[in-house]
Symmetry: C2
DNA sequence: AACCCTATTGCGCAGATGTCCAATAGGCAT
DNA sequence: ATGCCTATTGGACATCTGCGCAATAGGGTT
C-alpha cells in the first residue's frame, strides 16, 4: 500500500471509530483494529493522537461544509441559499453533532483539535455571513449587523442540536429544525415560513 | 467526621477538581488527593464515579439556578427579571461553561450525568418560560410560542458561550453577552437596549 | 542475484484508571 | 475494660492508555 493511500486509510479508519465511539472514546488501538493493522503503524504516520483526531475531524467537518456549497448549485437568491443551508444542517445525523460536542469539550485538552474546531466554526459563520450579506445587498433581508446575526443563527443551530443529541427527546429534531428556521426569519425580517424546508416547496 | 459531613466534603472536593480539570479530567484519585484521604473512601460513599460526577455537577448547576432566583428578589416586572437573568448568565465564568460543555459531551457515555444534565437544562428553560409567560400576560412582551422562544434564547446563550469557552477569542465574552441580549429583544418585540446590563442602568 | 529502503510488526514501557478488598483504627455502647 | 461497628486506609488487580523501538519482511533498484 502506498504511503499516501495508507495515510488516507488511517484517517478513514479514525473517522469510522470517531463516529462510533466519539472523539473522546477514540484510541490508537481502536483505529489500528478498525484498519486491521498494528498500533505501531499509526504512530509511524501520525505524530500523535491529537493530530490524528484533528485531521479526521477536519475532514468530517469540511465535507459537511462542502455539501452545503455543492447544494448551492443552481440556487442564486439569498433566501433560497439560506433555506438550503438549513436543509443540510438539519440532515446532519446525531453522530455528526455528537462529534462536534466532543470537539468543543475536548478543545480545552487537545490543542490541535481546538485549532481545527475553531477554524471550521469560523468558516461556517463566514458562509452564513456571505449569504446574509448578499440578502442585505439585494434588499431581500434586513439586518444591521451581519456578523452578529450570523453568529447568533449559528449558535442557535448548535445550541438546539446540542439539546437533541445530548439529552435525547427533550426537544425533537423536528422542533429544533422548525424553531431555528423561525428564529432566522425573525432575525432577518422575513415573513413567517419563508425559510421552510426547501424540499417541501 | 460524621457520614453526612464526609459525604458533603467528598462532593465539595469533586466540585473543586471538576472546576480545575473539567468533568472528563476528574478521577477518583484526584478527588481523594483534594480531600487528603484515600481513594477507597470515595467508593465507600459513592457507588461509582459516574454517580459522584452527576451529584457534584447537579450541585454546581443548581446553585447557578438558585442565584438567578435569589437575584429576582425585589424585581417583579418581566423585563427586569429577564435582564437579571442575562446578568447572572453573563457572570458565569469560563470554568462553569466548560463544565457544561463536558457534561453535554460526556452525557453519551455517563447515564447518571445525562439524567442530571437533561433535568437541569429543562429547569433553565422552564425558568425562562415563566418569565416570558409573565411578560406576555402583562403585555410587556410579544411572543406567540413561549416554549419555542425559551428554548431559542437558552440555546442562543449556550451556543455563544460555547464559542467563547471552546475557541478562545473567536468572539469575546462581551460580544456574546450583547448579542444574546439583542437576540432576545428581537424575539420578544422589545425596543433595542431594553435588556442592557441591569447594573449599568 | 544482491542490496537497500521503508512499511509494518509486535511487544514493551511507564503511567493512569475504576473498582474492590482485607486489614486497621478509633469511637461508642455495654 | 471489653466488644462491636464502621469509617478509613493502603494497596492489589485488571485493564487501558499513548508512545517508542528493535526486528522483520517485502518490494523496488541496481
Amino acid at each position: 500500500m502506498s504511503p499516501d493511500d495508507r495515510r488516507a486509510a488511517i484517517v478513514a479508519a479514525t473517522r469510522a471509530v470517531m463516529a462510533r465511539n466519539g472523539i473522546a472514546g477514540t484510541t490508537v488501538r481502536d483505529v489500528a483494529a478498525e484498519l486491521g493493522t498494528s498500533s505501531g503503524l499509526i504512530h509511524h504516520y501520525s505524530a500523535s493522537l491529537d493530530e490524528l483526531l484533528a485531521e479526521a475531524f477536519e475532514q468530517v467537518a469540511r465535507e459537511d461544509l462542502e455539501r452545503v456549497r455543492r447544494a448551492f448549485a443552481g440556487v442564486d437568491d439569498a433566501i433560497g441559499r439560506l433555506r438550503v443551508f438549513f436543509d443540510v444542517y438539519a440532515r446532519d445525523d446525531d453522530q455528526g453533532i455528537q462529534t462536534w460536542l466532543d470537539a468543543w469539550s475536548e478543545a480545552a485538552r487537545r490543542p490541535a483539535l481546538q485549532r481545527i474546531s475553531r477554524r471550521l466554526n469560523e468558516e461556517w459563520q463566514a458562509l452564513l455571513a456571505s449569504i446574509i450579506g448578499q440578502g442585505v445587498a439585494d434588499g431581500s433581508m434586513v439586518c444591521d449587523d451581519v456578523d452578529a446575526v450570523s453568529w447568533r443563527i449559528l449558535s442557535l443551530l448548535d445550541g438546539l442540536a446540542l439539546q437533541v443529541v445530548a439529552h435525547g427527546d427533550v426537544i425533537s429534531l423536528g422542533e429544533a429544525d422548525a424553531w431555528s428556521r423561525a428564529g432566522a426569519e425573525r432575525e432577518l425580517g422575513l415573513p413567517s415560513g419563508a425559510l421552510s424546508l426547501a424540499l417541501a416547496r
